[in-house]
Symmetry: C2
Subunit: 146 residues, 2 copies
Amino acid sequence: MDRPELGVLLSQLLREVIRREEEILARAGLQMWDYVVLAALTDGDAPTQSQLAARTRRDKTRLIGNLDHLEDRRLVTRSPDPADRRNRVVAMTSSGRAVWQRCHEQITAMEKELLRPLDRADRAAFERALVRLTAVDARTPGKGRL
Amino acid sequence: MDRPELGVLLSQLLREVIRREEEILARAGLQMWDYVVLAALTDGDAPTQSQLAARTRRDKTRLIGNLDHLEDRRLVTRSPDPADRRNRVVAMTSSGRAVWQRCHEQITAMEKELLRPLDRADRAAFERALVRLTAVDARTPGKGRL
DNA sequence: TATTGTTATACTCTATAACTATA
DNA sequence: TATAGTTATAGAGTATAACAATA
C-alpha cells in the first residue's frame, strides 16, 4: 500500500502541533522557544548557558533573547557562578515552574485531543514508535530552524 | 508512562528525515522544495501556478524560484494557456519524471531503513496513525517555514 | 476593474564574527 | 591565551506590496 512520504506526513502533523501549541503558549505570554528553554530547566539548573544551549540543541547566541525574555518575566534567573564568574547558572524560579506546569498540562490535553482519532492500540504503538525512532541516533548540534 | 512532548519528538524525527532526504536530493541537484513541487506534478499538470502553489501549500511568490530552477534544468515546462493567456500550465517533462522517480525510490529506501528499528506491527501502526492524523483537518494555507 | 504571474521592498530569522569580562 | 556570554554584521528566508500583461 502506498502512502505519502514521511517528510510530507511529519511536516504536516508537526505544523498542526505547533499551531495548537503556540495558541496555548501565547495565552501564557510565551513564545515557542521560550517554552523549550523553560522546559529544559525542569530537569535541574543549567551550570552554564552553553550547556543549556546544547541541552536544547540551540545556538548559544540564539538562546540569549529567550533568556532575556524569561528573566524579565522572572521565570528564570541568571546568576554568576562564584567558582568561575564567567559562567552564569540558569535556574527556574518557582513562578517559572508554575507557568511551565500550567502550559505543560494544557499541551498534554491538546495532544490527547489530537490523538483521539486513533484507537488505543494504534495510539500506544504510535507513541512507542516515535520514542523509539528519536532515540536512534546522536542528535545533531544546535543549528537550523527546527 | 510519561514521554517527551509530541512537538519534541516530531521535530526531532522530521529533522532527521530532512537531513537524509537533502542528502539524496543534493545528488540529483535538487533542493527540498524543488522536489516537493516536482512531486506535486506527478498527479498531473497544474492548470495554473496559483493552483500548484495551493497544491503544495506554498505561497505563489515563493514557488517561482523553484519553477525557474526546475525549468532551467528542463524538468518542468511553463506554457501559457491558449484559453486564458494569463495562466501558465505547469507540466513535468519525461526527464523530470525520471529524476523524480529516482529520488522517490531512494527516499522510499531511506524511509525503510529509518523505520527498521520498529517491529512489523508497530511500523504498520505508526504509518497508519500518521496517515490518519494528517487526514483529520483542513490544511492550513501556504505560509510559514514548514 | 479583476486576476495571473512577476518583481521589489521590508521584515524576521539564522550564522558568523567581533567584543567584554573573566580565567 | 582561552573561554562564557554578549553584541553587531551579514546573509537567507519569508511576507507584503507594487507592477505588467491579459481578461
